[in-house]
């Protein structure tokens, strides 16, 4: 019993570390919008393949470009793509999941079957198929990933809406004549926010991985568009023997981004930060 009590009071380490790691990365990315130690694209033959340390914190690559600056910018590319993709997936997913979960019926069945079919396939594979059709590039990747994320958000939100629909506060609101739209987005949505936030963190996790994988496969962000971590990893593979820090920096940056989001989603999932319902209500529905 004593153990149980303690574990309840113990700080949510997953969430704390997740936030710390992600904040550091986000801070670095925000800074990179205004300032990087060196120009990420400036080549210098004299400073080719320098080891980490000194002026170049993570060394330089085979063109003499500063790797730390490139990692900063590359992480920014990856995160901005992830952000847009998750925004598309979460907003459409919430609306679709909310409508189907709240109203139920034949449409619900139909859309959920499609959802099941889509989510059964690995998203990277579907993304590759769509890239064949649309071509690669930053905008395309954002839309492809965004659309592919809709089903998973819709599924989570639908489940929550279907559960909340049965609760007394929703029934009360209905009796009082509140319009469905208001019930869904003003009454129910705040109550499922913790679940939705956790899903958003997982979404970021998947989006970073998907973007990095696609750039690594050469069908993501094109070389001329922007620096991307996946692409850096692909290009650096040939220089393992001369400058292993190239691949290490890019790979570690991807892993750290993913780790941050994974920890946040873990922390939010196991113990919600807050419960919007009052204590008495929670007891009634427990």
């Amino acid at each position: 019993m004593k153990k149980l009590k303690n574990s309840h009071r113990a700080p949510n380490y997953n969430l704390i570390w997740g936030c710390v790691i992600t904040s550091i990365m986000v801070l670095m990315i925000v800074v990179s919008f205004f300032w990087t130690p060196f120009n990420p694209d400036a080549m210098s033959y004299a400073e080719k393949d320098l080891a980490p340390g000194g002026a170049h914190l993570l060394g330089t690559d085979n063109f003499g470009r500063d790797i730390f600056s490139r990692v900063m910018e590359g992480a920014g590319t990856t995160l901005s793509i992830a952000f847009c993709a998750v925004a598309i997936g979460a907003s459409f997913g919430t609306v679709i999941g909310g409508l189907t979960g709240y109203f139920g019926g034949a449409w619900d069945e139909f859309i959920m079957r499609i959802n099941d079919a889509v989510t059964a396939f690995p998203s990277i594979l579907l993304a590759l198929v769509i890239v064949t059709i649309t071509g690669s590039g930053r905008t395309n990747i954002i839309f492809i990933l965004g659309i592919l994320f809709i089903p998973s958000f819709a599924r989570v939100v639908r489940g929550e809406f279907a559960k909340q629909r049965q609760m007394d506060y929703v029934k009360n609101a209905k009796l009082m004549g509140v319009k469905p739209g208001r019930i869904m987005f003003v009454h129910i949505l705040p109550n499922i926010a913790p679940v939705l936030l956790s899903a958003v963190a997982i979404g970021f996790n998947n989006a970073v991985l998907a973007e990095a994988s696609m750039s690594y496969l050469g069908v993501g962000v094109s070389q001329t568009e922007a620096v991307s971590l996946g692409r850096m990893l692909l290009d650096s593979q040939a220089y393992w023997m001369t400058s292993p820090w190239q691949a290490l920096s890019a790979g570690c940056a991807i892993s750290i981004l993913i780790l941050g989001f994974a920890l946040i989603s873990e922390g939010l999932g196991t113990r919600p930060m807050w419960r919007p319902t009052t204590k008495r209500r929670r007891k009634q529905h427990a």
Partner: protein, 313 residues
């Protein structure tokens, strides 16, 4: 029996629906393959002739049933860029990717089950805590980065294998499997970490149930309870996840084949995507779709045998 029949019915319908989707997806691709095939020699007459030769001038529905019929008979059409039948192109590569996938899946099972059970047994101990932190980190490293690290450490430094020097199965059986060990492990590690987490969580949850206390009170040892009582109940969510994992491994092998230079289906898929070799892409996607659906159905049906409480509706 009715349940099984119903399941098979849905199975066939799903495959039918997927085949229509795959076919249609490749119809809306902009850019006619004939222009690419003819290149600079393209004239309207030549394009029309080639379109007729490839059967591209017929109605969509006719082409669909034609394609489906051919697909079912194992005739996947001709590759645009290699000028050879797709099935010939695929035959050897399919085996390589299948071997890689199965080896990786086996590794996931061999790593995750002992560790997951062990961690559940010693849940909340310092060992468990350290391992779970490690687990979370392993989960966050993408397989292609693990692959690159393995290439460097085990390939270039320790010289366990020669990177990019793939060994064909026909040349050397043992060498073939040996070459696949590190690629398979790169895919398996993050997946195994996920299974460990799920299995441990699922078992820890089951361990707090009343039936566990009853089992102890009847004089069962800790391992007996874990093995005979808890495992079976804890397995249900894990089996679902294993199906997902197997499918993910197939997708992962596409990426890993690039890292280790393995001439499997994934490499063929990527070159075909870049070269817009549609018959090849279409066939590979259709094959993967078939595998995905089959794996999910096997998982679906296997619940019954694991947990008889799940009654069929």
């Amino acid at each position: 029996m009715r349940y099984i029949l119903k399941k098979i019915g849905i199975f066939v319908l799903t495959i039918f629906a997927i085949s229509i989707l795959v076919f249609l997806a490749f119809q809306i691709i902009p850019g006619d393959p004939t222009t690419r095939m003819l290149g600079t020699q393209a004239t309207p007459e030549k394009i029309a002739a080639l379109r007729a030769q490839l059967g591209l001038d017929r109605p969509v529905l006719v082409r669909y049933f034609d394609w489906l019929g051919n697909f079912l008979r194992g005739n996947y059409g001709e590759s645009y860029s290699y000028n050879m039948p797709v099935h010939e192109l695929l035959s050897g590569k399919l085996r390589i990717t299948a071997s890689l996938t199965l080896l990786s899946f086996l590794m996931v099972l061999l790593i995750s089950f002992p560790l997951g059970i062990l961690l559940a047994r010693f849940a909340h101990s310092w060992f468990d805590r350290v391992m779970m932190v490690l687990n979370q980190i392993v989960m966050s490293i993408p397989s292609f980065f693990t692959g690159i690290l393995f290439t460097y450490v085990f390939g270039l430094i320790l010289k366990f294998f020669t990177p990019t020097n793939f060994v064909e199965y026909a040349d050397d059986h043992a060498g073939f499997w040996a070459y696949l060990v590190f690629p398979a492990l790169s895919i398996a590690l993050p997946k195994a970490a996920m299974v460990i987490k799920l299995l441990r969580g699922s078992m820890v949850r089951e361990l707090s149930e009343d039936y566990v206390r009853t089992a102890y009170s009847r004089g069962n040892s800790r391992w007996q309870v874990l093995k005979g009582h808890v495992m079976r109940n804890a397995m249900v969510p894990v089996v679902t996840f294993l199906a997902v994992t197997l499918v993910d491994i197939i997708a992962g092998s596409i990426i890993i084949e690039q890292v280790f230079n393995i001439p499997g289906m994934g490499r063929l898929l990527m070159t075909s995507i870049n070269g817009r070799d549609l018959p090849v892409v279409q066939t590979i996607i259709m094959i993967i779709a078939l595998v995905v659906i089959t794996v999910n159905y096997i998982a679906d049906i296997s619940y019954k045998y694991i947990d008889p409480r799940i009654r069929f509706r």
